[in-house]
Symmetry: C2
Subunit: 248 residues, 2 copies
Amino acid sequence: MAERIYTACVLIIGNEILSGRTQDANLNHMATVLGESGVRVREARVIPDVEDVIIDTVNEVRAAFDYVLTTGGIGPTHDDITADCIAKAFGVPLVMSEEIAVRIRGRPAPAEVMASRLLMARVPEGATLIDNPTGGPQGFQMGNVYVMAGIPSVMRAMLSTIVFEGGAVVRSRSVAAYLGESQVATGLTAIQDEHPAIDIGSYPFMRADRYGTTLVLRGTDETELDAVLAEVKQLIVDAGGTPEPVAE
Amino acid sequence: MAERIYTACVLIIGNEILSGRTQDANLNHMATVLGESGVRVREARVIPDVEDVIIDTVNEVRAAFDYVLTTGGIGPTHDDITADCIAKAFGVPLVMSEEIAVRIRGRPAPAEVMASRLLMARVPEGATLIDNPTGGPQGFQMGNVYVMAGIPSVMRAMLSTIVFEGGAVVRSRSVAAYLGESQVATGLTAIQDEHPAIDIGSYPFMRADRYGTTLVLRGTDETELDAVLAEVKQLIVDAGGTPEPVAE
């Protein structure tokens, strides 16, 4: 019986990534953490701070994946519209979370500043909170959508508190060689056809003007992974190369 | 009369980005280069090496944006299915490009290796080529879809040869302060409401355990940008902060 596969989509919300100003640093970490829980990120989207786009995208992907994780847009300024959009996507009002408000009120501030900070206490009705070990306002979970901060250190702290139900963990084996992809392509196809449960990826690289290829095997069965790794190493040797170790 | 806005979507094709193994390095560069041509990246998607997903995504986004740029999946191995998927998305056959084939044949190789390398000469019927200044096989353009390599150095070389028709270039002004976002939120909303043509983004950061906020103004009118920057700096001073320069 095929084991259930758990899937996720990551939504990175923010004009600053799309303008090229900021390099996203969250997808990679989220994919790694989810992978360790047996959840596979099947898609990621970077979308702008535009209400219709956020609402439509959330509704599309929450129906298509087991989990949706968002980062960005949950601060107190005019461009922080994520909570509002999630509420609209689910067709519920935004309500004040007393739990978040208590945390925010714990740090005194002038009235106008406090009013702005309390905007961060608004969550869609029915949401549960995601803890924020850095001490700031919490994120929230609404259905299968997990809404987190965009600051990488805060996102990581929030993510570390969530337990995802997942399936078998995908493991990898890798090996590199200073060979062109074409030198192993035919042999790789044969190995891939023999082992459909293993996903074989071939990634060319250039280091110090030398072309090489990293071969990455991914699958849930470690015995089969080791067997395929041995076949791939033999393929490299047969093609006149030397298998080079790669950090997993 | 409102000037025409040119939009783009970037598609990053590759399981290795979604697994967390590899950090994408292409979106940021593409967004910057497109921006300099007056083209705005409005969305980016990272999708897996899965035929149906690539075809459906390409057809969705090529109808929604002026330009679509893809990276990844145009090598000679079994997991390189981008050219085939683009052909299917456009409903045309894959054909051998003699121009690419001549370039590939210029570097001799054993028959089996050459057969694999020539897989990279296949392009959708009707495509035009994108030059590859690194000397490898070319990319191609099919309709408004630009198909490029995934290796960052090769993608950059290819991208540098393309001329995009764009609109007014979006410029930015930035300033930072060691203030919480809440301390400027109300004032920022007022400035944003006064200047709808300027997109004001507020990005919190944490450096050495100190919270701060970077404010980024984006728009096509440099005079208005400078005026808004002056207002934002005054807002920072009024909130008890010091405007700190930020590299554009």
